[in-house]
Symmetry: C2
């Protein structure tokens, strides 16, 4: 059986690179230690091994169906929800007060990584926890009491109901309406599309966290409110939420994406979460977590693909070494020994383990920003979190697609068949650079908002951290050249940023952000290069101080080797990106006289 | 209805850039003129519009099935084969003598482009024509008389039966055996996998062109012979070819990929094509054409995706211009007006029209090499064909995948659903960098064989042609900067090549070819940059000399605009590639002490 994730690597990142146990010095996380972290990881891996991974293909082959207004999904989903709910694993990131385990996000998000690597078609619990978190954070005590426990218990499914047919990336154009009633509730009318897990038969109720406009609300994003809209009201009556359609999708087929219609019979009740018109604010406070979640899904799928292609490459004999082509009497060699195959495997390892490291770095910022009692530290990590989030959503998903495609290529013609999981992983991962804000939207967020926030403070903090890693790497003779390279990357990135800022100052936002996606690509490469150098420093230090041997030595040497791979194969891409980003030729901004496309 | 290909662009390339009618000055093509070219293109487009494009999804949704040893495919396949056969469109590239239309390959390959853009799941005729071409070129007169006409008439399906379970990229390891019989035929025994159209119910017979070893043949590639192995023998009896399995695939689901077993009852008859042990030679003489065909499939799929995403981008309103974000009272704008979407569309156009141009350039080399009576000219174009073929197979398929993925991204969440064709195109194109030799194999062919062939003569010829385009571009003020850029690219490519050659001379082939895939990427970008400059020269000259207006002017300006896009966004990638390729760090060659992956 191929490995869907490497526990050794996870332990390395969690305990050796990010010292997650240090977080337990903060009072908020003080109930935890390595043992509680490991126990939770064990529990989730157990569910992954038994209920999820073995049914990876089966969920894809037996898609959800909408018949007579009812949605049926694979029965394993029910088993999964029960196991997760019973073990208290849906709300691991919630506070004790809200019925959770108060785990730091660096551990909590890793649990999502394991689950999604095992079977990303079972993304139900992530949606529930996101929805419940909105209720726990912003709703009245009464609503919290009513909903959170059932949701974290796996009995009630949560959803995020934002998108409408005419309002996808442009949430300001939402038109679903909410009319106030005498009893304090609202009547909801409108349509929502692409609602993941928006209806299914493996739970007792569906709780939509839905954006809508209260009658007479201001236009745009400042007039959007957040509502709880259940499928069944508390008295058990149906709440006039109709499953109008089900999308048939390229991937992630285990979970239904629904088209929902509210208020066909003018009887759809909704309950306001928090204050009117603050719905998008609430959403955005949860957004960092949701985006880290999608980044985790990207790297998780890439991790499963890496595991499967690595196993294949070790077992599949084909051809002979290039320097021994004519030795026809000798047996064929495993393809992992061909440089081009080794390159595709190293590329996958570099993307998977580099992305995971970046996501854990970002999650750690969440934790310190949340738990720290020092206002300066709190602000620093909060701003770094803001800056890193769009990158942590984008690099693992965009480059995750590249990794999976390389994994498929390793298998040649077999990779294209349904006999191996690669073709499904290739389909599944394609949604990740789209949902929770496309790569284009993330890139505008990075350059347009996060780089200009507070006079550039977030970037200053981040580059300060990178500089620390560079200084550490300079202590090791073998790492010095890479420290120099990273320093040069940082300078290049700053040069590019400086070249773009004048457009922002002139208020020409369109010109400023015209190539934001390329800026994102460059920023992502530099950030992951930093993560690789960070890992290499720990590996090198461990080799020197602890003198490991056998598989352990090979593990640490593999880390340094992959760091080198990243710097020699991936980092040079920034040369071309910088040239383009500093170049003044404008080719994509709409002009009066359009060229024919 | 979205456009699956642009006829205006096709005419531009065929008649304005490549002056295809000039080929009719060669005696071999002298029966043709623009009218016969256009008539054939019209006829094929008619079939594309009526029988193929409307059933694009249907073929995918109703996959071939193997039941009780019989394979059923979509009935439209039969209609398609009949239409193509009746109109004489399967053997358009064959000589009059062999029952074809003796069309130059530059036109013939374009027909494949149109067909595959309309519906790449109907790839049946390309396979038949490839198989029939082998018979026409190398088999005895008797075998020719028996098979070719029926095949070109669409009644008998042809296949290329090379791959075996243990021999994919490594054809030297083929084990299917052929035992000579008293009557001159052979008994075939073995297994073949991934045989496209290897069995189906919409034709009267299946004719396999099969590689096998005659008993006692030498090991390796020098002991492989080519056989005709029909499903039914001429007397109508079954020929002991069993459909053992059918592969379920990620894409191109309209055509079955078969696992075949020959000789289960020791009664599988085969007839030798040409001489014993020369099978792989024969195959390779047809390989250039087959590889151009796969390149065409790649660009065809990308063309359909570009058409679909362009239409969507013009029609879908979403958000407002970045400089007018707060104008909430103004309507949403079509997304084509957003720079990031425009960038994704221009990238697709640059890849599609640049790749098509490269493929036509390559096909033109075939034509001159074939038709010329001047030995020097013949050699020149033959060597250029040899060099360009792996690039023309790889760039359009690898970058075609990038183009289709960008097309899908343009549609956001909708691109991920089965309501639009992007998801299918995304699946379909994934096989193209795999079959007919993977990208890794093509890259080794380019650097390892073609660049070192005859002391580098092919590259000298090619660079000579590029220099001509540069000189022409220098005559136009607006194109001068791009002429300079291309000159620099050529120098960079030569520098990289020089840095690698010493390894070849030392006989360290593994080191020489270690990063051949990156060399291919660089070579492809430079070659397509040349094609874009070539197109821009024609466009600029036409604007100056013919003073077009309206849509015509916009068309030519669009060409120059896209050329600029290619040079500003794609060409800078070679900077990073060159750094890597000249770098001496070896990270992918197998060593005694392996790192842990």
């Amino acid at each position: 059986m191929a490995q869907y994730y490497s526990r050794r690597n996870l332990n390395f990142l969690l305990y050796e690179v990010f010292n997650a146990t240090e977080l337990t010095h903060y009072p908020y996380y003080s109930a935890h230690d390595r043992e509680t972290f490991d126990m939770t990881i064990d529990a989730v891996t157990q569910i992954g091994d038994t209920i999820m991974f073995p049914h990876f293909r089966d969920l894809d082959r037996n898609q959800p169906e909408l018949k007579n207004g009812k949605v049926t999904v694979h029965p394993k989903v029910g088993e999964y929800l029960k196991a997760m709910g019973d073990a208290g694993l849906i709300g691991t990131g919630f506070s004790f007060e809200d019925g959770g385990q108060q785990l730091p996000e660096i551990v909590n998000s890793i649990l999502g990584f394991i689950l999604m690597a095992a079977n990303n078609g079972m993304m139900y619990t992530g949606l529930t926890s996101g929805a419940a978190r909105l209720i726990a954070s912003f709703a009245s005590e009464e609503l919290k009491q009513t909903y959170v426990e059932k949701m974290l218990g796996g009995k009630w499914q949560g959803t995020m109901a934002l998108t409408e047919p005419q309002a996808g990336s442009s949430l300001s154009d939402i038109t679903t309406s909410a009319t106030p009633q005498a009893d304090g509730s609202y009547r909801i009318k409108g349509q929502k599309v692409f609602i993941s897990a928006g209806d299914h038969d493996q739970c007792e109720n569906i709780i939509h966290l839905m954006l809508a406009r209260i009658d007479g609300a201001p236009k745009g994003t400042k007039g959007i409110s957040l509502f709880i809209v259940p499928k069944y009201r508390l008295d058990g009556t149906e709440n006039d939420v109709t499953s109008t359609g089900i999308y048939h999708k390229l991937g992630q087929r285990g979970v239904p994406a629904m088209h929902l219609t509210m208020g066909d019979r003018d009887d759809c009740h909704g309950w306001l979460v928090g204050e009117p018109h603050r719905g998008l604010n609430y959403m955005f406070q949860m957004m960092n977590e949701a985006r880290i979640g999608v980044g985790m899904t990207g790297v998780a799928i890439a991790s499963a693909a890496y595991g499967a292609s690595l196993q294949y490459a070790k077992e599949r004999p084909q051809s002979r070494r290039l320097n021994e082509k004519s030795a026809l009497d000798s047996p064929q060699i495993p393809i992992i020994q061909h440089p081009d195959v080794k390159r595709m495997l190293l590329l996958q390892k570099a993307i998977v383990e580099g992305s995971l490291s970046l996501l854990m770095e970002t999650a750690r910022c969440t934790d310190i920003a949340h738990a720290s009692e020092d206002p300066e530290e709190k602000e620093k990590y909060h701003l770094m979190l803001e800056l890193l989030t769009p990158v942590a959503k984008t690099y693992p998903t965009e480059m995750g697609m590249v990794a999976v495609s390389n994994g498929l290529q390793v298998l040649g013609g077999y990779g294209f068949t349904e006999d191996f999981p690669l073709e499904q992983l290739y389909r599944d991962i394609r949604i990740t650079p789209i949902y929770e804000g496309t790569t284009g939207i993330q890139s505008q967020d990075l350059l347009g908002r996060k780089m200009t926030m507070k006079g550039g403070k977030p970037a200053q903090y981040l580059f300060g951290e990178v500089a620390k890693t560079i200084a550490e790497a300079e202590n090791h003779e073998t790492l010095k050249p890479y420290a120099q390279k990273l320093k040069a990357e940082l300078a290049r990135l700053q040069e590019v940023t400086m070249a773009l800022m004048p457009f922002a100052m002139q208020g020409d936002i369109e010109r400023f952000l015209m190539d934001a996606t390329l800026y994102m690509e460059m920023f992502g490469i530099s950030t992951v290069a930093w993560q690789w150098l960070k890992q290499a420093v720990v590996a090198q230090r461990t080799i020197v101080t602890q003198n490991p041997d056998g598989e352990e030595l090979a593990f640490y040497e593999g880390k340094i080797h992959t760091m080198k791979f990243f710097f020699h194969y991936e980092v040079p891409k920034t040369l071309g990106l910088a040239v383009r980003l500093k170049d003044n030729e404008v080719l994509t901004i709409a002009t009066e006289k359009e060229v024919i496309l």
